[in-house]
Amino acid sequence: MILKMLIKVFIFPGFLFMSIYSFLMEYLDRKIYARMQSRTGPPWYQPIADFFKLIGKSEIIPKDANPTMFRLLPLIALASVAAAFAYIPIYSATATFSFDGDIVVVLYFLTIIPLTSFLAGWYSRNAYATIGATRILTQMFAYEVPLFMCMLAPALIADTWSISQISAYYAVHPLHALINIPVCLTGIIAIQCKLERAPFDTPEAETEIVSGVLVEYGGNLLAIFKMATNCELVLVISFFSAIFLPFFTGIAWVDFILYFVKTLLVLFILVLMRATMARLEINNTIRFCWRYLSPIAFAQLIINILVRSVL
């Protein structure tokens, strides 16, 4: 029983599966992005090669930085992603762990990642990193509210705070998922903003502040941070598809394939957004999120409350 649980947490559908899928997703992200720009793009093993190359590099910690925090933060980021992933349903409507309220826990873990990035930038004591860190926090204020409202709106109809039960509810009532279409569209923009990808990549704007918070990071610490970022991509997309695309057949292996189809579809839309837009300025990001995303998400919340009383 315990062994089975450990396998579920660490191997499948837990940490190991998430890591491998994150490499695949990074490859597809880069490859599709490259094809959209009429480039060839990297070979399939490039993300893994990058990872192991970084692991082999020496660790350099700035003189002014706090070494303990500097080393610890990437691990915290990766750990919080791994912990949140246990609550996401993969091959059926039920996740490894689930309880009523786990959607809040996942959202909480999602908040930890930008906080670790912020602290990483802050503890680096570098001008670029500091600016990147403040931008991360500013951007958090922009997307947190619309993202949370977007994710909670479907939960209102399902009348549960558990991701697995939300999935299960919409699997039984697939037509009810159509009510959530507006919030699904705003949600996909909000997760793009959450993942800090173009056009919302202001915190790591390469041409302005070099690479933001990670400017002082190198070697295995950078490798872990990069891995955490890629795993975050897997986590957020899986979370999004569990809530907004909860279509299951009931057969485990078909659902498992369906999981890949759904997540890669979302990835494709995210890449399309990344490829077709210029980077927004931080004040425009905030304005956009509060002027367009938040009102739509808020209206959906009210609609869903009304719909719930009818259903």
Partner: protein, 403 residues
């Protein structure tokens, strides 16, 4: 690295920074995200080309002058050739003048495509960057197949051009630029409609007409501010005397205006190339030039892709020039940059700098060695003595060396 003083942070952009193509040090003082002061430091790329020209023959100088700039190499060599031809009193065959114009406009096309790509990269729009550079590659292939090199094509020589423009080359050029014309229309449509792009370009790095005149801006920077000045129109040289050139201006006076001006200029270049190929006269492609150039002074102005390009040559009657002075367009556009940066945001600094299409190595005429707070200017003798003393301190006696 940072000096924190009353909420003001000074951050360095350069000499090594991802947004700079060449080393230059910008010291940006920020209040939050707002730029309150910008100090520009150049002087990392001095190559002593002007001095080198004085100790070489005119023919050798042509190769040096062509390497002043990697992008507008043809504009520099054209200006130098026109100067020498004027001094020697040579009449260049019209066919050669037409070929020079075609190459110059192809150069303008690839320069503007390059600029559009880097500008889009600065604002995080990498797809456009890849697209424009893909198109630019086609132009470079054309120039390589005609001149032999992707840049520094070596087309010009005193009295004309080195290679004739045959039928296959003409048809290749027409085919490529026709395809490019469609792509440029697409880019123009994106520039005029894409919201994120417009929000990053509109109202950024404003240099009004008055300021542009005050700071002496040239090229697309001046044209974007509504200054209708282009050497090809104001003072036509070579085949531009016969080819109609439409002057492109815009009234935005910001980075957006500069983008639009450059895209329209590309369309105009395509028209010029088509006209030139259609109306190219037959005949010789070069005239004979004496080795010794008569004594005299000449100042030539040529419209490079980045703006007005000035060459001054003084000859003393030998086979070597007495003085060569090159004023690249960036030298004129530098002065306005600080004004453009002030009051903007940190996010706009890279695009504002990129918008003048700076070419640092064309501009640098001195080296700045920053060892401390004291600044001093040394003349040639002092500099020589300094280097001798420095080596003596290291244990090397230059005077004792036998070379």
């Amino acid at each position: 690295m940072s000096n924190i003083d009353k909420n003001k942070v000074t951050i360095p952009i350069g000499p090594q920074h991802p947004s700079l193509d060449e080393p230059a040090a910008f010291s940006i003082t920020l209040e939050g995200e707002k730029v309150v002061n910008a100090v520009i430091g150049v002087g990392y790329n001095h190559r002593g080309l002007e001095k080198a020209c004085e100790s070489r023959t005119y023919i050798q100088d042509l190769y040096i002058v062509e390497r002043v700039c990697g992008i507008c190499s043809h504009a520099h060599s054209t200006a130098f050739c026109i100067s020498i031809e004027e001094l020697a009193g040579i009449k260049v065959p019209m066919r050669a003048e037409y070929i020079r114009v075609i190459v110059a406009e192809l150069e303008r096309l690839h320069s503007h495509l390059l600029w559009l790509g880097t500008a889009c990269h600065e604002i995080g729009y990498d797809t456009m960057f890849m697209y424009t550079w893909r198109d630019r590659e086609k132009i470079l292939d054309l120039l390589a197949s005609y001149g032999g090199n992707r840049i520094n094509y070596g087309v010009n020589k005193f009295g004309g051009v080195k290679r004739d423009f045959d039928e296959t080359t003409s048809s290749d050029v027409i085919k490529t630029i026709n395809k490019l014309d469609d792509n440029i229309k697409h880019y123009l449509e994106i520039a005029l409609t894409e919201t994120t792009l417009i929000s990053r370009l509109m109202g950024i790095g404003v240099l009004s007409r008055k300021d542009a005149l005050k700071f002496g801006a040239v090229g697309p920077v001046a044209k974007a501010a509504g200054i209708d000045y282009d050497i090809r129109v104001a003072e036509p040289y070579g085949a531009y005397k016969e080819i109609p050139v439409k002057l492109i201006t815009d009234n935005h006076a910001d980075v957006y205006g500069r983008t639009v001006v450059r895209i329209f200029e590309m369309q105009e270049s395509i028209k010029i190339i088509k006209y030139a190929i259609k109306n190219m006269p037959a005949g010789e492609i070069s005239a004979r030039v004496p080795r010794r150039i008569p004594a005299g002074e000449v100042l030539t102005r040529v419209e490079a892709p980045r703006g007005e390009n000035i060459h001054f040559v003084r000859s003393n009657g030998t086979d070597k020039p007495d003085r060569v002075r090159v004023k690249a367009p960036t030298e004129s556009n530098w002065h306005g940059v600080q004004h453009m940066l002030k009051g903007g945001k940190l996010a706009d600094v890279p695009i504002t700098i990129a918008a003048i299409d700076p070419c640092y190595s064309c501009t640098d005429r001195a080296i700045v060695v920053n060892t401390g707070n004291d600044t001093k200017i040394m003349d040639w003798k002092q500099l020589r003595q300094y280097s001798i003393d420095w080596y003596k301190k290291e244990g090397i006696d230059i005077a004792a060396l036998k070379l």
